[in-house]
Symmetry: none
Subunit: 220 residues, 4 copies
DNA sequence: CATGAATGAGTATTCATTCAT
DNA sequence: CATGAATGAATACTCATTCAT
């Protein structure tokens, strides 16, 4: 195909060749994205049981068979979806150090997490749902969730340790024990909010959580 | 059949009638319990997808049709299971006040929760699994989980408020904001531990959490 | 693409034109052969169910769509394959008369058949498989197999008749009745050997068969 | 049905338990037989590819799902069918010794086989078809076919050996080498006749085969 | 009361085929 | 000419549910 284009366009062949290929590839990539987005939407709304390959195809505006055609199996589709969702989650899991103090950095992360609860993306919700279902142990996502947790804990412990070296954090604090409590506090809030967003004042809960974090870093 | 026989045997009807009925009712109750226990086991091990009415019957040592016969539909069986699991969970959700101080009461509850992670019951695991799947909103369990959370938060706030009236808890603390942070901390730890029990030191994390709770109750 | 290049390079058109076309035709013929060979391989290994148009293309080292592009439909591909396999089989079905005596000619043919069992070609195996499946009557190959049998019988009868005219074969033998027995003996041995090559001594069986054939030609 | 009868016949209550069960079991057994018969019919006519679980159910006069319900998978259904067909085939494969002479016994068997070609049962045709398809090596029937062949060869060798001990068969004949030739002759005739019943005179071919067999047993 | 036979709807998956590039 | 994107029909298999015994 690139040859055809080059044959036609003549001169600027060097630039044209790629687009021709990209057209097919683009079509494919675009359709794949659409399918994954559709799958995320469906999972976010109906759980992974509510997702069928046929529905994914139709939700994305294609035929019933396309999702199967691309991903081969439902498991593969879910795997791809998890990959995408995990990448999105990972991006925020261990953010680059901002250079602010430890307390500020941790509290900023906490606010970011809860903000994600208020304006969730389909992919984010799908990740939560899949992660939750993975608790049954049936899924391969279990490992991914565990890794994400571990990564966030490691980042937390590092921030706390740095705060100690900077003299901001009380020396008696054990960064390694601190981390799971911190991660737990956030996860627990997120899960509560996900189950019943209106049942309590999320803003106040975040503020209270920040109070806890600052106390845990500095008080004895 | 045994009823038929006993009905027919007539004679000592006055004496026989009640026991016979109780025997029937007991048998029924016993079989139902066995079915629910089997369902809990299956869900705990294979997730809610792995549960079929036929398998429940066989897992319980009965025929393939019995679960349908008793519960009528799969939805009804799951509802009954949720009910049972919820009852078990509720029992520990808002424990009777022990009379100890607020900090001690909350920390004791925290230790109890994490203990539950270490020695889980089938019903408990089934509840976690169903609750997790309920996040998708597809299930009717969502409401139950939310109610459980709410109840635990209410209990927490009450304990904190009582602590303030007793002078043990710092007056500046807002019990209503405190509660979701407390519940979140526990839920988050439980979920982390459920996903990867060996990934971190649960005991140390619990100790650290107690430190946080005591600080949040008393420090400024 | 190389053709395009050649088309474009123009210049020596008179000389280039024909070769270019021949190259095209050759390429096509070569690709078709490769596709048919790939199909034969797949059928020989996995039965006709294991053959898909896409797999044939890939097995041959081309794209998934090429087999469809060339043959139009699966039926057409199988037809072409059968044609090719039949041609190969026919070549040995009624070999040119060697000029040896009838007994020697028939025994030589028998040895050749059994040799084919030991070193089968993909095309040969595909023919056996397709022919076997054709027994159900679903395929159009049934006729081809029958024709092949008929042709071999005709050749056999002719060899026997010639043997009678040469005085080598006993006059009482009916060539037309002799033929199906001869063909049956060979087919039956081939099939037995194909089903379980190690279950009996093929060499001894061939020797015994030769004894039968010589006796049937000469003894009373 | 039998229950109805017995219900009507009254009296013999002690006999009641079993029949009730038998009715269910009978229903099942009858339906299973009907399904297998339907499957045999379909395979005989359309080959194993033409057999669908749904079609089997409908052909048998039941629902589309019943075959799956009973046999669990298509492979299992085919296995059951093979079992049944093999049992039928085995029954004639190594018949009880008739006490007649070796030649008579073998020729009688040959006539029986060819007779089976003229009046085939669905199960018999299904066996031939499945056996033929098994040549591709994909099926598990390959082993069954091989075993059937081996058994027939063993019976043949035994008959020949006994004939030698009786002085009817020439001592120089090797029973073990004789057997595959004999079995091959029959199989080959059967296959030729199956492919094209009208293409040659089966009766004459059988007579000629008998001539071969008698010669092979007695002539030098 | 209890069993299990029978049904049929739903779903994943395969694959020939059509069509755009 | 060649690739591969997209479709849709066919089919194996699962399972809740109904019904006969």
């Amino acid at each position: 195909m690139s040859t055809h284009d080059e044959d036609r366009t003549g001169g600027a062949g060097a630039l044209r060749g790629a687009p021709a290929r990209r057209t097919q590839a683009e079509r494919r990539a675009r359709a794949e994205s659409a399918l994954i987005a559709a799958a995320a939407r469906l999972i976010a709304e109906h759980g992974s049981t509510g997702v069928t390959l046929a529905r994914v195809g139709e939700e994305a505006g294609f035929s019933r068979g396309l999702a199967t055609h691309y991903f081969g199996s439902k498991a593969a589709l879910l795997a791809r979806l998890q990959e995408a969702a995990l990448a999105e989650a990972m991006a925020s899991a261990a953010p680059a150090r901002s250079g602010a103090g430890a307390a500020e950095e941790l509290c900023g992360f906490a606010r970011g997490c809860l903000e994600g609860v208020r304006n969730p993306t389909d992919l984010g919700r799908a990740f939560v749902v899949l992660g939750a279902e993975a608790l049954a142990g049936a899924s391969e996502l279990t490992g991914a969730v565990a890794e994400l947790d571990a990564r966030t804990r490691a980042w937390t412990a590092e921030v706390v340790g740095q705060g100690q070296r900077d003299g901001e954090v009380r020396p008696g604090v054990d960064p390694v024990a601190f981390a799971p409590a911190f991660v737990g506090l956030l996860k627990g809030l997120v899960v509560q909010a996900a189950a019943a967003p209106e049942a309590f004042d999320v803003g106040a809960a975040v503020a209270e959580s920040e109070r806890w974090i600052r106390l845990a870093l500095t008080a004895g």
